[in-house]
Symmetry: C2
Subunit: 223 residues, 2 copies
């Protein structure tokens, strides 16, 4: 994968924070991210938003977009729709070749990565592949959370699940974005924004590393 | 799907209960379930267990099994392995035609159903299909749990995820097996065993129903 100089991404862990409205926790980041491209008002933030599901030709809609936003939902259904509408490659081209800013939250952050192998969602439909748009060469685990020490629930922890993924030697690093955490990419530079740490799982047997907001994690673009 | 008179299943929500050992919470159910077929000692319960991964020919191993047990693990990896080893149909045949008892816990319960669409696991590998062995004509959600009222985590609740699945009109009912819950099938009779309730999600818009241990839920075999 070649990293485009022009590529611009804003990948948000979650759409809603406890006690806040939709995208409220990251509205300043969105405004700063989109300020140079958007013309009209998209909801309360001052921008205009067209739903691609309302478009007759989704491929054209992607081609003509000034910016692309994919929000939350079920990751499997979302990725299947992107494949069904033939826009996976089109989004990749627009973002990496034409510098169209891509913004995703939750499932929209997952599908932007190399694959959806580390989504938390239920596999309610079978997409033709788990391969994502490939805008970054690693995986994201959105809504990353540590186990509740008081819980008696015996399901695997998030970290255990990511370790299962890393039992496959060719599995890329997984960036756990806690709620409130945002990954901002400008070309070859990747920075953490938001209010919470991200936790990076590089590979099995390597201790995961915490990164605070403001951290430069550009090395991840070249894994 | 035709329901076999001979079919015998023991589908357990979870392998381990808080504070207990592996399969300890259901050892009485297992002993009762296997007592008529097993000859030797399988671990501490008094039965002998051969690992299919140690067999040169997994298909033959299934054909020669006196009983089949599939434990926990990652559901995607497990189902992919069953397909890779060509034993999905073989297990189906053995259980439905020859009356070989099938016992599953957690992922092993999921793959026994019509599909793995309602697993909680992370999709770390891409199986050739989400279709399960099809021993029951509905889905199971193992480790079923209600949301923690004190949590600030914004991820979907288990019930919300199951409702997403039921947005597809052809999606079958989903039986949520809480930890400690066991589904026991003898031919056309399905009974809940164990210590906890199961919660049945029939379809979107229909209130889910709680079933206590001891409940006869045989109607689910004919959906």
């Amino acid at each position: 994968m070649t990293t485009s100089i022009m590529k611009r991404l804003l990948l948000i862990s979650n759409s809603t924070m406890h006690g806040g409205g939709y995208l409220e926790h990251c509205q300043d980041n969105i405004k700063a991210f989109l300020s140079t491209t958007a013309r009209k008002a998209f909801n309360s933030f001052g921008y205009d938003l067209d739903g691609i599901h309302e478009k007759e030709n989704p491929v054209d809609a992607v081609r003509n977009a000034e910016a692309i936003f994919i929000g939350g939902g079920n990751t499997f259904r979302l990725l299947k729709t992107l494949y069904d509408e033939n826009i996976v490659n089109e989004i990749y081209k627009q973002v990496t070749q034409d510098g169209v800013p891509y913004m995703g939250s939750s499932a929209g952050s997952n599908v932007a990565t190399i694959s959806i192998n580390t989504t938390n969602d239920m596999p309610i439909v079978y997409p033709p592949s788990f391969k994502g748009i490939g805008l970054v060469p690693f995986n994201i685990n959105a809504h990353y959370t540590e186990p509740d020490a008081n819980s008696k629930h015996m399901g695997e922890t998030r970290a255990q699940r990511i370790n299962q993924y890393h039992e496959y030697e060719d599995a890329p690093p997984v960036l756990g974005l806690r709620e409130g955490c945002i990954l901002h990419v400008e070309g070859n530079k990747a920075t953490l924004e938001g209010k919470t740490n991200a936790k990076l799982f590089v590979r099995l047997g390597k201790e995961p590393v915490e990164y605070e907001p403001g951290s430069d994690i550009s090395f991840l673009l070249n894994v």
